[in-house]
Symmetry: C2
């Protein structure tokens, strides 16, 4: 059982010591989330929010949601007072809100290094890397299928970057490992190469159970029954369907008192209407249903109100990301989730660009700022996302993580206090002089401004003489440096061996499946 107390942990909340992290990032720099001290950006009025909530209730009551091939879930709904006909469940007005009262508004996801445990909810913000891409891309090798080696690289990179608080889940698909066995290697990699919180498998109930079983090797069974140590990301099959794979995993996580993130995946025009307010109402209905199901399985189990809204290029049918409509949608989803008193998951560094170019970082900035401004507590896909989620980018991860660093400063806001007002500096400097050497500057410059680890702020001549590198090229050097300098966090050798034995045993019991 690991109860690590042997690690130097610098727990920094709010504005971190940037100097420390800026030069050489050390894995010892621990930033356990960041607290949002700026207000949320509330887009809609009370009346408009009520209109959307009414629409969601109408969808739930009149149209309903299908829970496919899962009699247990249908029985739970029937028992809770829903109207169940075949696989279609209709919900009397107010039923889901009433069920959701037992869900915690905030919870702690424990890390195997306690200094990295994260509060999820309230004013806390957690950045996690992107999730689920079959492909990876870097500047040298271009685009290719992800492997376990890539997966482990991304776990190591997320561990090395203090601005990513969470190790994520399927940081890429290790397609060189059989489908029914790769979850074992993925969970082992998160536990072995990082000591940050992480996400487990949801692709079947069995794999979800394996994921949780592996955490019990590290945390102990008693601990995990009372504490959240792993999250499962549960997608609705929008519109208005949950399939048995997803509810199967949902039930495993909830029953074990582990966290679920309930996420309708709605591309407007495809899995939802082309009008954003309608898609928001649908998202609200689907998320409430998923979150409420966790409470029927185990009241009080932690669950996160997720959403994934995006738009569609209606000329081609291609999904689009980082566009204005989903950014507005996120702001509204934040308002709605707060009215339910649930932790919020929002969209991260989205883009449809194939490479980490101008398009990619513009779209990602729009999407990430909306996530932060809407009050999201858990921001999945904060770093690495390319090509609508089909590709995890090495350079993109670096560039996005640098923006996560900036957002630490952004969400911390401004302090209006005498030192910040700097009146003595004006008295010292006076009209027409500069502030470089004044006492106030000397006293404050160490923490004064956010510093990028990747931007080039040098003069044109310095930049030219250093080889005219663009951001993509600099990011390429950065991830290689981080991997080269990576140091594995300590793990009890007995625990490490037990994990390996568990994986070997499970693999030996099953024939390889490749799809």
């Amino acid at each position: 059982m690991a109860e690590p107390g042997d690690q130097t942990s610098i727990r920094s909340r709010g504005r971190p010591n940037r100097r420390q992290a800026a030069g050489a990032i050390e894995a010892a720099t621990i930033i356990a989330g960041v607290e949002r001290r700026i207000p949320t950006y509330d887009l809609l009025s009370e009346v408009s929010l009520q209109t959307i909530e009414d629409a969601a209730e109408l969808i739930l009551e009149e149209i309903g949601i299908e829970f496919r091939e899962d009699h247990e879930s249908l029985d739970l709904w029937r028992g809770a007072g829903a109207d169940v006909v075949g696989e279609l469940v209709r919900f009397p007005k107010g039923l889901l809100r009433s069920i959701l009262k037992s869900a915690p508004s905030m919870f702690v996801q424990h890390a195997r290094n306690p200094a990295r445990s994260l509060k999820i909810g309230g004013s806390h913000v957690v950045f996690a890397p992107a999730y689920g891409s079959p492909f990876v891309r870097d500047l040298d090798g271009g685009r290719r299928y992800g492997t376990l080696a890539d997966f482990e690289n991304f776990v190591k990179l997320a561990y090395s970057i203090p601005w990513l608080h969470h190790s994520g889940g399927t940081v890429c698909e290790p397609v060189d490992i059989p489908v029914n066995k790769r979850h074992l290697d993925m969970v082992a990699a998160h536990l072995r190469y990082s000591d940050k919180p992480f996400m487990g498998s949801v692709t079947s109930a069995e794999r979800a159970e394996d994921s949780i079983e592996m955490t019990s090797i590290v945390f102990g069974r008693d601990f995990i029954d009372q504490n959240c140590v792993i999250l499962g990301n549960i997608n609705a099959n929008s519109p208005l369907v949950f399939d048995a794979t997803m509810t199967g995993a949902l039930k495993v996580y909830a029953r074990a008192n582990q966290g679920t993130v309930i996420v309708p995946f709605i591309l407007g025009g495809a899995m939802g209407p082309v009008t954003t307010p309608g898609a928001i109402a649908q998202s609200l209905a689907e998320t409430m249903a998923g979150c409420a199901l966790t409470q029927l399985v185990r009241p009080g189990a932690p669950t996160i109100f997720g959403n994934f809204l995006s738009s569609t290029d209606l000329r081609t049918g291609s999904p689009t990301f980082g566009t204005p409509e989903p950014a507005l949608g996120s702001l509204v989803v934040g308002q709605l989730a707060r009215r339910l008193n649930l932790p919020i998951r929002c969209s991260g560094a989205f883009t449809s660009s194939k490479v980490a170019d101008a398009q990619a970082l513009n779209e990602s900035a729009v999407s990430m700022l909306a996530a932060v401004q809407c009050g999201a507590n858990f921001i999945l896909h904060s770093a690495g996302w390319l090509e609508g989620g089909l590709t995890m980018g090495y350079e993109k991860l670096i560039l996005d993580a640098d923006f996560c660093s900036a957002l630490h400063t952004y969400v911390t806001g401004l302090s209006i206090d005498p030192n910040q007002m700097a009146l003595d500096a004006f008295r010292e400097v006076g009209p027409g002089k500069h502030f470089f050497g004044c006492a106030h500057t000397i006293a404050n410059y160490r923490t004064a401004f956010w510093e990028s680890e990747i931007s080039d702020n040098n003069s044109f001549e310095q930049w030219r003489d250093a080889g005219e590198q663009d951001a993509l090229t600099r990011a390429n050097a950065r991830w290689k440096k981080l991997l080269a300098e990576y140091k594995k966090p300590p793990l009890d050798p007995a625990v490490d061996e037990a994990l390996a034995e568990f994986c070997a045993q499970k693999k030996s019991e099953r024939a390889d499946q490749w799809y």
Copy 2:
């Protein structure tokens, strides 16, 4: 006198017809600004705002502002009740706020094509291209000094792009023309190659007068005495100085009832303190003083409350742009300016990047979103800015302008009405089906989602087979296409000739100055 009524004008407010603009942009597509229908993002509380206002008043009263080598301005201040000692002016508490009451909260800047006249103030948002760079850059030729040919190209591009409502001012420095003559060519280019509103020279009182004189050839002297047809961008010499060049131009514009934009240029740590709240207080003091001076010259003259906050890389002293601190600063400046009831100018698509790469568009997105969210009415540097303003980029202009297009949709917000709620679509489609062909989609798809003119949303395979172009490469093709398709807006030949004669006459009167 041009009173053009012979042009096809499609005046579109709010959400424009994107389809029309998306395919082939036509100069006939007229978007005279856009109205913000989303709330502003108000960062600070009433108490904190009051603290900043008190600090500004203290700076004004105790430290004061120097007005250098300009006895007329000092006399105006003395007459208004300020305490003038030498060139230092100290302002009794409340004096500037009292003077500013005569300034309009909104005004119209007239264009020679009336359909392109712009409201500046209230909920109106105007995007103008970047201003003042000595260099230009494109993907083919790299970085080089700007010429009059480049200047004319940027005027033509801004004319061709409907998302830029304004022709800007010194869209680049035409360094091939003598310093004391280039303003004539610049103003002529704005009037000849565009029919959008524009900005005139501020580099001397004489050049400001020439600029206004040229507008009188187009609009008529009586019209311009009663209406704003040109803006002058007046920088404070921060900290706490206005020099005679700037106040000289300020007085010319104000006396002629033309618009001024008063802009302190504060890089924290250099021309202001390293703490953002102090820099905001300084900016407030300086802007109030500049705007108030316009009112002493001519009460009621239009003036815009400007600001230009940025941070500094304190390791190197280099200015940084698009970082979190100035984004937060913009939100506060918006709140402060609204309390003064003045139109707001805010920072645009800032970056310190040398090229239009991932860094550039991330920084620009952060900066532009802050400008829009803070309620800015006039956003200078909305497109083209590179390298801290030293370079105007052809591709950057295209990429930024596309984001301006997105922001048209963003500021328009969401409509919460029955069509947008799409309940009939849910009734038609039901669980598990898709929305592509449903009646609601067919009725709404034309205006449903913002469409980029430059992003690639295609599949990886389509993108690969089309040559793996990044955004920079696509933008390169785009500006060339726009210039190739550019059609000059009609201008009365007699007016055109009178402008040419005026320029020739003025040039012949003066010996070339090159610095």
